[in-house]
């Protein structure tokens, strides 16, 4: 073997491998969206908030399961000192709401402000594909934030059940469609409106402010007007509609603004669905003009 090194100029190698076309471009956009909302491949400070919220959403579930294990006193039907799965949505909803406030502007606004949208425009990607991939990223994250602690609790509590794990999994199987549906309701109620506002706003701070205003001030105003006798103002309480629907899914009753105004849960469902469809429609219209 020679002791002298050799330099090989490999030069430029043309690519002749597989090309995934539109499917690959959509997948890349979706993947990039997931990275972006979680701050992956970004500076450390971009990771702090999303990962803090992700930890925050899981910690109570871990604590509940852990304490239940230590005390060995848990029974899903008994009066547990800890939140049950429906009540847990009350905890996660606030955290997920904060996550959406931060994630939606991050997902859409930099692409427009930094001109990256022109790159997407030149790839095998329709404007509708871009909107769908970005929306799917946020919906996936929101659903994940909602579902993961629920799955953890479901498995954890099943493992602690006196009848054994598999027996508990089967006997409590009816919980699964409930928490999946509840997660979907929250995702649909929070994400599309946030994405719509981020589609129209030029700055992340503006999008965040408008979304917070719409959800928090809108609900407070709706509550005030309902208490003043204007029943239909309850429909503007966007932040409370998913809670109403989720309580209905779990057969519970509550005090949301639409419940106080005497509306059935399907009214809240129609509003959630209507806002989601209108938001996606306006986003597509806007991006067809931009791309």
């Amino acid at each position: 073997m020679s002791d002298r090194g050799a330099v090989y100029d490999l030069g430029y190698t043309p690519y002749s491998g597989e090309r995934l076309g539109r499917r690959g471009a959509i997948a890349a956009t979706y993947r990039d969206g997931n990275y972006r909302v979680l701050g992956i491949k970004r500076r450390a400070r971009k990771k702090i908030l999303p990962w803090s919220l992700a930890i925050l959403v899981m910690v109570p579930a871990v604590v509940f399961v852990g304490f239940s294990f230590l005390l060995s006193s848990f029974s899903p039907d008994a009066d547990s000192p800890f939140a049950n799965q429906q009540q847990y949505f009350g905890i996660t909803a606030t955290i997920v709401f904060l996550f959406v406030v931060l994630a939606a502007p991050e997902l859409l606004i930099p692409d427009r402000r930094e001109g990256v949208l022109s790159i997407y425009s030149s790839r095998p990607l329709r404007p509708d594909d871009y909107v769908a991939a970005r929306s799917a990223s946020l919906l996936t994250m929101v659903a994940g934030f909602m579902l993961l602690p629920q799955v953890l609790m479901y498995i954890g509590f099943s493992a602690l059940d006196a009848d054994g794990f598999f027996s508990a999994v089967v006997s409590n199987g009816s919980e699964i469609p409930k928490f999946v549906a509840a997660s979907a309701v929250y995702a649909l109620a929070y994400a599309p409106l946030a994405l719509l506002i981020s589609t129209l706003a030029e700055r992340k701070s503006v999008a965040t402010g408008v979304y917070l205003g719409t959800m928090i001030i809108g609900s407070s105003l709706a509550a005030f007007l309902v208490d003043s006798g204007t029943r239909y103002a309850a429909l503007l309480g966007f932040a409370e509609h998913p809670t109403h629907v989720v309580e209905w899914i779990y057969g519970a009753s509550g005090e949301t603004v639409t419940q106080r105004a005497g509306f059935d849960p399907w009214v809240a469902m129609v509003i959630i669905g209507g806002v989601a469809v209108a938001s996606v429609g306006i986003m597509i219209w806007r991006y067809r003009r931009l791309m």
Binding site: Y12, P14, Y15, E18, R19, G21, E114, S118, Y120, P124
Partner: protein, 302 residues
């Protein structure tokens, strides 16, 4: 039309009442094409129509023989685009952005990673690949823009003002990179108002002025390098007449005569004319007709 890399038939586009392209027609073969014209000539509009970003108001445009309006997805799978404006995310590294750009071009994940590394090396950014783009100089950003355009190994790359904002050294590097694209099997459409850049890098020129095509043809047929320039001491008109009698075309350019002789050597004709008229000569040399001369002579004439 299908043998052409790019073609247009009665292609027009208007932004409201402002007409950007007036029913243009052209056929352009594969190679490196220079799209030249002043600012506002319609270059970017034409590029966006060819990419399927804009829909033409009238007529059709084709790329690889496919209609740019109805077949824009298959076309975009085979092209890359380097916009003139900012198009880079500032908070990611060059490597991560290139991997994403390769994914957007349809490359699978592993191939995207490999291609990103190769192309960053080609663009001279290998050492900088793990730095965030926000910290790059203008020249490095331009090279990153070019890298993202070719990372998918396109059959054709659209380069919109690729040397904009570059210092002389950066410009040389960029032109050198563009010149090498042909060797990699990548056709290029270089849109620029810097005619020297086009002369350096392209073999076909498409000239636009006011939304109209004023010239389209091979660069070597547009520019001339067989013109002799002579500065006369004595009777200039007599020398010009002698040259004309000998079959040359003579043009007065200040104190110089520009002599073109399609069928013979203009220098020999000048020698004979000086001998015949007894005039003297202060200077003699070749004079190239640059793309700029062609553009200026055509501009506004249509």
């Amino acid at each position: 039309m299908t043998d052409s890399l790019l073609a247009a038939r009665d292609l027009g586009h208007a932004f409201g009442s402002v007409v950007a392209l007036h029913s243009v027609n052209f056929d352009v073969p594969p190679g490196r094409i220079g799209l030249v014209g002043a600012n506002g000539a319609g270059k970017t509009t034409l590029v966006k129509i060819l990419l399927g970003i804009l829909r033409p108001t009238t007529g059709t445009a084709t790329v690889f023989g496919d209609d740019a309006t109805s077949e824009f997805l298959p076309i975009r799978s085979r092209v890359g685009y380097m916009p003139e404006s900012d198009c880079l995310p500032l908070d990611v590294t060059a490597a991560d952005f290139l991997i994403h750009a390769a994914g957007l071009a349809g490359l699978p994940k592993n191939a995207a990673r490999q291609r990103a590394s190769d192309v960053l090396t080609l663009a001279g950014l290998h050492e900088e690949r793990f730095r965030r783009i926000g910290g790059f100089s203008t020249g490095m950003k331009q090279r990153t823009k070019l890298a993202q355009a070719i990372v998918g190994h396109p059959d054709l790359v659209f380069l919109d003002e690729p040397t904009a904002g570059l210092d002389p050294e950066g410009r040389e590097d960029m032109l050198d990179l563009i010149s090498r694209l042909g060797g990699f099997g990548i056709n290029a459409l270089v849109s620029s108002h810097v005619l020297g850049d086009i002369e350096r890098t392209c073999d076909w020129v498409l000239m636009l002025d006011g939304g109209r095509v004023i010239r389209s043809g091979p660069l070597d047929q547009l520019v001339e390098d067989d013109v002799a320039s002579v500065e006369i001491i004595g009777d200039r008109n007599a020398v010009a007449a002698a040259l004309t009698d000998a079959g040359a075309t003579v043009e007065h350019d200040g104190r110089h005569l520009l002599v073109r002789a399609p069928d013979s050597d203009p220098f020999l004709l000048i020698r004979d004319a000086l001998a015949a008229t007894g005039a003297g000569m202060l200077s003699l040399g070749p004079r190239s007709t640059s793309l700029e001369d062609v553009f200026l002579s055509q501009e506004g004439s249509e």
